[in-house]
Amino acid sequence: MAESPSHAHDGHAHAGHGAHDGHGGHHEESWFVHYFWSTDHKMIAKQYLVTGMLMGVIGAYFAYVFRMQLAFPGKPVPGYGLVTGADYNALVTNHGAIMIFWVAMPVLIAAFGNYLIPLMIGCDDMVFPRINRLSYQIFAISAVLVVASFFVQGGAFGGAWTAYPPLSAKAEYSLTPAGSSLWLIAVALEFVAFLLGGINFVTTAMNSRAPGMKAFDIPIAVWMIVIASILFMASVGPLIAGALMLLFDQMIGTGFFDPDRGGDPILWQHLFWFFGHPEVYVVLLPAMGFVAEIITTFSRKKMFAYKTVLATTFATGLLSFFVWAHHQFIAGIDPRMANVFSVTTVLISVPIAEMCFVYIATLYGGSITFSVPMLWALAFIAEFLLGGVTGIYLGSSGADIYFHDTYFVVAHFHYTFFPIAIIGSFAGMTYWYPKMFGTFMNEAWNKLHFWVTIIGFNGIFLPLFITGASGDHRRIFDYTNFPELDTPELQSLRVLATVSLLVMLVIQPVFLINFFYSMFRGKKAGANPWKANTLEWQAASPPPHGNFPTLPEVYRGPYEFSVPGRDEDYWPQNSPN
């Protein structure tokens, strides 16, 4: 391929005729280059996936330690030891930060975005492969930094993942002089990594689609990842500025967020949540996209209302920029502003509900197969529904005064984030596993893992709605100090939540072992084991460097299932007839 970049306009001319010969094939890569210095989008996706899973194990371990402390206060936790107040705060803070920034983001957006976008739009790689590699490298450094913050003097930052000043701004308050700054730098680097990745994703999806693939032929998953990347790009800027300001407050003694010196701590809350709330949708949308792919494939039906899904996604994206102040209802904001944000917050559940209805309508009348990915996809809709409905309570400024900072909030956002980050990831991993590794995972073990995880999850967070409504404040590490909360009834609910967590954690190795074992010993999967239409299934499993032997052309939309008059019940996008 010797064309000069000044010919960038005529890319289509090359696509159809196999000018591309798999440029990875004819030179030997060293082991190091292959696994750590690759510019192949699929390898970078796997790097993100494995790093995300590893960070997930760390985040889960933190949850184990602090849930044990809550259920059995003051007793040494097996595998950790005695939990001090400072330990507890650091564990809670970093559990939240790691699960969102180092698990949900890398797995849902970076891993699947990297893997799926070029394959699903029918091209050979991202438009900027080296920037893609750089993005992962920066992300890897950020992951190392956040873990390293546990081993510096003073320990890891414990001011919650929201890092509100003044607690986060001054070492005298946080008592973690090095930990807070390391944490902040890690988060900022993570943002840089995802900005680089996001620009790559958006540009690739806009420019590098297969010939014939029009806007409405793009699979929902790609749309969702791209819209999520744009949301991220448009919302994270103020927080990057805020992080710089906070870092200066911490390290050189400015007073941006210090009221004594003309600063304003509420400004941080605005900068943080202007990003933080769209962030929920940044991770939600890709998961919604995976669910769309899975339910159409396993109900053998056309997406019920493709364009409605897109319209609701745009509406969600737009509205997500006008809900942030519902996090500040009790921070002293003007009550008239609280009313406005109550309305927008309740309003945003409309497009999301619409999306869920479209998915249910897609299922209606379909020939449903309860495969493992399908189970995860259905569980996503069911569990996210609970998260959405409880959000209405919190979005209403009056009710929020009571619920604010209780376990009701914790339970609510875990009913949104768990379906997104965990159920969504498992749905994606089990659905695309045969494509990624060319083999099937063991289905029986996966089903066991599914049911125990789902039951465990509900066992953790349903009780916490009750403890929260009963007044459990979320930042208390030992309830025995609060006689009105230290009742046997509430304590038994806390123990139930912890035991459910243990059940859920115990089953996870089953998935992990299945995941790695099946790579080598799993039953071989063909190119298109689920008989799906999108382009990634038309490549070999796993796809070679360069993805397709001949880059495909697209003739129709992605969800042409059970079309009358055809012998097969699916109709690949690249099949001429």
Binding site: H7, G11, V127, T203, A241, L244, G253, F256, F274
Partner: protein, 190 residues
Amino acid sequence: MMRPIATTRSATGIPTGRLAVWWVIASEIVIFGGLLGGYLLHRFGHPEWATAAAHTNTMAGGFNTFVLLTSSLSAVLAHAAAEKGEGPKAAKYLGLTMLGGLVFLIVKSFEWTYEISHGYTITANTFWSFYYTAAGLHGFHVIAGMVIMGFVAADAMKNRELQRVELIGIYWHFVDLVWIFLFPLLYIAK
């Protein structure tokens, strides 16, 4: 490394490099937007900052505005030369733009030295914190732009990658435009 076919496609009709630069700028706008938005909210709440702002050197700032605008002119001329395929000429114009950036930074360093030596440091009060943070972040972008421009110019000298002359030009105009916001907000508004 071979360029993937993905890089050469252009479904939108906009070359990939230019599209990416616009997205970079979009994400930069919200970064500066957040910083300046925070500054403005504070500024409205603190009329007494006017006395601090009175100590900034409007003449030096005005001169720098002129220098930066002029450097954008040579970036445009570089683009025009690159369009005609005259790489070495484009490289020379880019050199002039980098010289403008250098003058800007030198003036800036004299300003800051003067201010810091008179006690107006970044921790003096929140006005000065914003002053140094915003102008510093902008200055960092000037330096980054100059470094990238150096690479682009070196390529252009050998008539290589001439489309990049336009891309770094777009970025440079953006950096220029940020200054057009910073100058009145930090220097003129008293």
